[in-house]
Amino acid sequence: MATEGEERESEAGTVTRDLTMSRAMVEAIAHEMRANDEVFYMGEDVADYGGIFDSTQGLLDEFGHDRIMDVPISETAYLGAAVGAAQAGMRPIAELMFVDFFGVAMDQVYNQMAKNTYMSGGNVSVPMVLTAAVGGTYNDAAQHSQTLYGTFAHLPGMKVVVPSTAYDAKGLMHNAIRDDDPVVYMFHKRLMGIGWMPAPDGPKTPVPEEDYTIPFGKADVKREGSDVTVVTLGLHVHRALEAAGSLADDGVDAEVVDLRTLVPLDTETVVESVRKTGRLVVVDEDYRSFGVTGEVVARVADEALDSLDAVERVAAADVPIPYSRPLEDEVLPGTADIEAAVRDVAER
């Protein structure tokens, strides 16, 4: 599924196995930790538990508690400490268990982590990774189900990464740890391959054993098509692909573009696709207003208004994510919603 460029970046003749997204992330982290003593990981339940979403499964055995650090439930303290350690030249990875918890520590994230490079006139760098689980679809209500892509992408100073497959997760993680700027790495719970939260088929992909990087700002065309461009990220890449599969039976050929990173955003690949299809559907599990869908549509309008025959947005309704199953289904975009939107723009 990866584009040619990346295949070249990973060594030819490499051994690949199918990995879950969490295993692929862990493999990249372990590799970077072996290669560089300055890399360490800290967060809640990341050591003995292995991460609630398996994000650190097995790392404790190899690296011990000094480098896989469980921390008290004190997000301000440990996210801020990651900022401080990064400014001192280390390469911390700090995990925020649920992205919804960002509020208790947001100052350390958006006033310190994100802004210190700028305010120092470029004299300070903050080479840290903030990982966080995002997403609903399992009825955990408004404080544990958000997909806050837009919030972090809106506030300047953070690179924002959202993998949708194991292959991408590994390459993007290598790049994130090696990057000299703060990177927010947002993984969708339902893509991780956790036993208690079944993943769709898509995210488990072949992954090379060697390290490889996927550059930021390079979207991936996960499915080529000629009629409608569907731009999305995270879990909804798989839903869009599913929708595209059934649309193909009806003669609608959808192209699915996986953004992979929000900051930087690959406008070029999106615009190129829209110039080809003339029709755009943007899908996002984050709230509809002031978010990813609006941003993508605006950029396409800026660059290729002439090519644009029809546009639609499919996103979470502007309400807190409800608990009850029928209510959550109503609010979060599903495969059927994507399919309907693509049909709609295809007919216009």
Binding site: A47, Y49, D70, P72, I73, V104, N139, A142, Q143, G195
Partner: protein
Amino acid sequence: MFEDMVTARYYEERLQEEYLEGKQPAFDISAGPIPGELHLAAGHEAAGIGVCHHLRDDDTVTAPHRPHHIAIAKGVDLKRMTAEIFGRETGLGKGKGGHMHLFDPDVNFACSGIIAQGCPPAAGAALAAKKRNTDAVAVAFLGEGAIDQGGFLESLNFAGVHDLPVVFVVEDNDWAISMPKERVTDVEDGSKRADGFAVHGERVEYDDVEAVHEAAGRAIGRARDGNGPTLLEVQVHRRMGHFMGDPQTYRPEADQEAATARDSIERLADTLRAHGVGEDELAESRKAAEERVDDAIAWAKEQPEPDPAAAHEDVWVNPPSGVTDEEPAFELAGGDD
């Protein structure tokens, strides 16, 4: 208190059964009649019940993500609470909040699923009581894993400097998910944190509901009499995992066994027996509790699921114009110009 203790324990056992339905053989968190995460409080009963037994409907309680025993003790409507946990239309929050987010304004009960974040609103309820010269009090419950949070420490200080009628109750069950207490704090007696804020602190070493009740009586009395806040820590135990489905591989078996062995309900039963309460009376209380719980669960399961369209309601009590299809129920400010 015995009946409340038994009700709370039996409620958790029944919810556990219901929760596991449909989630087997491979545990799938989004399957079955109770969706989402479920955090059970078996082993915490003495703290919630010993404290709330002193409270009136006009006193405020904020509970954390493990709220059922506290809600039961505070007098939250059990049927509507259960309907909420099952995600039904007639639930306390119309199926929007779920088990970590129970709100019952009739008895001034609220929850938050974010660690320690019920503490500032409890201080706020206490502030309102003080400003209005009522003798109502507020109680915030939190776990020992939450005592490093800014929201708690800042509230403790805020309540101290304003002499607010609030009690912070730390339920110390020794575990913050997979983190044993000794690895999150070097202060064994959490109530000593109060010293740093010149607030009164007290710890009850064992989950003996009588001892909790006495200590809570002093704390709530102090608050009601205008003598300011208290930090009360109660040693409880965690009989189950952090959440349903937690494999607890991080937990030594001996610790799990010890937690199960020390049963605050049996302890209270023994105390009652020593005071001459007969087996019949205890059995009657148990029976009454079980009937009440079974009724609530049966009622909840008969309730309808919400209409999907309801997902768009209740974001505001006063929706801005243009948000709904209906005409605004108020005059827009600013007139025609």
